[in-house]
């Protein structure tokens, strides 16, 4: 959190997560290459460098699809939230695997000409389709995202700018799909690969469109502010140690939490990455963000010492059994 920086804030969960990811990458690439060398013989034989290039490329695409599906899946079911916790590591892994794919491709296709390898590959273009440039564009975006994945950048660019910068992944994904569709698939006779790519794109885009627009509509149908107060519904619906998300028409969401019998309200936006605090619960006396575990005093909005994060709070009153939240943000102390 806010007390100092380390290269990686390792814990057991992250170590297991990374071990599984890198083992998975190693197994995938090994099986792909060895399987290709063993099964594709004679006229269908493919050289080892091309198999390695294809293995790394398809691995990066699979990783990108998984990374992009985690966010919307976590919005649909809390079961996927543990995957969200370490998503940045998956993103950095995706960049590294994609960079290896690019290095092998540039080395194999462009290393022996009179021009620079990168220029030779980018200028070649299969039948006028600049699919290599699309791949390079996607790789550059993934590089910027990986390079700014550290908490230092999140804090100093501000979460809003940082998350805005990382929306570029949507452009990177579109470029990757185009890179494959206008490159490898142009010379591939089977429709299976085109079908797989189309299916993957449909799943990723479908999940994001479904959850994204559900959130936008939720915002638009939020509670109205009447005389400076927001009717958050029956107070009894928020149980001890639990929280609820209150959407406000024209405003940002609010987390309503019950702790030691009292109802308290604070901004629903975690100071770390903007996670939904109202979807978390009270752990060790603090409302805990379901995304990365940042914690805040339920009624003060302040992180426990030595941490210094704060979120704005709101006054709460109960009238005729209904929780009423003051629209104006209060000062945390």
């Amino acid at each position: 959190m806010s007390t100092g920086y380390r290269v990686v804030q390792w814990n057991r969960h992250k170590m297991v997560y990374d071990l599984l990811v890198w083992t998975g990458v190693a197994v995938y690439v090994s099986v792909f290459v060895l399987g290709g060398l063993t099964l594709m013989r004679g006229e269908r034989a493919v050289s080892a460098p091309i198999l390695v290039m294809r293995a790394l490329g398809t691995c990066a695409i699979v990783l990108l699809h998984v990374t992009l599906c985690i966010g919307p899946l976590a919005r649909i079911s809390a079961l996927f939230a543990p995957l969200l916790y370490n998503r940045r590591h998956l993103g950095v892994t995706t960049f590294l695997v994609a960079a290896l794919h690019a290095a092998v491709a540039v080395g194999f296709y462009g290393a022996f000409g009179v021009r620079g390898p990168l220029v030779a590959v980018l200028d070649s273009g299969v039948r006028g389709a600049p699919f290599e440039a699309m791949g390079l564009g996607a790789l550059l975006i993934l590089f910027v995202m990986a390079a700014t994945s550290h908490d230092f950048w999140l804090k100093n660019l501000t979460p809003r700018v940082w998350k805005g910068l990382h929306l570029l992944v949507i452009g990177a994904y579109a470029l990757v799909v185009m890179h494959v569709a206008w490159g490898a698939l142009r010379s591939e006779g089977s429709v299976v690969y085109a079908g797989l790519l189309g299916f993957g794109a449909a799943v990723v885009c479908g999940l994001h469109l479904f959850t994204g627009w559900r959130e936008v509509l939720r915002d638009r149908r939020g509670a109205r502010v009447v005389d400076g107060w927001i009717d958050a519904g029956p107070a009894e619906k928020v149980h001890e140690g639990h929280a609820a998300v209150v959407t406000v028409r024209g405003g940002e969401r609010i987390a309503l939490v019950r702790h030691e019998g009292a109802l308290c309200a604070m901004s629903n936006v975690c100071a770390h990455q903007g996670g939904p605090l109202g979807e978390g619960g009270v752990i060790d006396g603090c409302l805990t963000c379901p995304w990365h575990g940042y914690q805040y005093g339920p009624c003060s909005g302040a992180s426990p010492p030595p941490f210094t994060e704060r979120v704005p709070t709101h006054r709460v009153k109960v009238e005729n059994g209904r929780a009423m939240i003051e629209a104006r943000e209060g000062e945390t102390s």
Binding site: A129, A147, T148, K155, M178, V216, D219, G274
Partner: protein
């Protein structure tokens, strides 16, 4: 010189300047920008170097204090998140449209290429 060569030279120049600015920043400027980075180890500085290099104009602006940014207050963050949710939804609409057309176009181009190959084959 092709357009691609010019773009690659520009990219190379950007990264070269970035490597120098980024190295200076992680060695000398880090702690001036963020108090939490005081005493940061070599591993942290090395991890921040690629980002400082890639975004070197931003890095330089932060370091020199050319733009006086206020501290990222929670209220500013909260207001930004609602706009980001909307931007995120629209960005996926644009991406889905682009991907859909791109896939259909690539498949159509593949069919045309197959026909040309079949017609010109001896």
């Amino acid at each position: 010189m092709s357009v691609m060569s010019v773009l690659l030279w520009a990219l190379g120049a950007h990264l070269l300047v970035g490597a120098v600015v980024g190295a200076a920043f992680v060695l000398r400027g880090l702690q001036r920008v963020d108090g939490a980075a005081v005493g940061a180890g070599w591993g942290v500085r090395l991890a921040l170097w690629p980002g400082a290099a890639a975004l070197w104009p931003v890095t330089l602006t932060m370091w020199l204090g050319a733009v006086r940014r206020g501290a990222p207050t929670p209220a500013r963050t909260a207001r930004g998140m609602r706009a980001l949710r909307t931007a995120h939804a629209w960005a996926w609409v644009a991406a889905a449209t682009l991907i859909g057309w791109g896939l259909v176009g690539a498949l159509a181009a593949r069919e045309r290429t197959s026909q040309v190959i079949a017609e010109t084959a001896p």
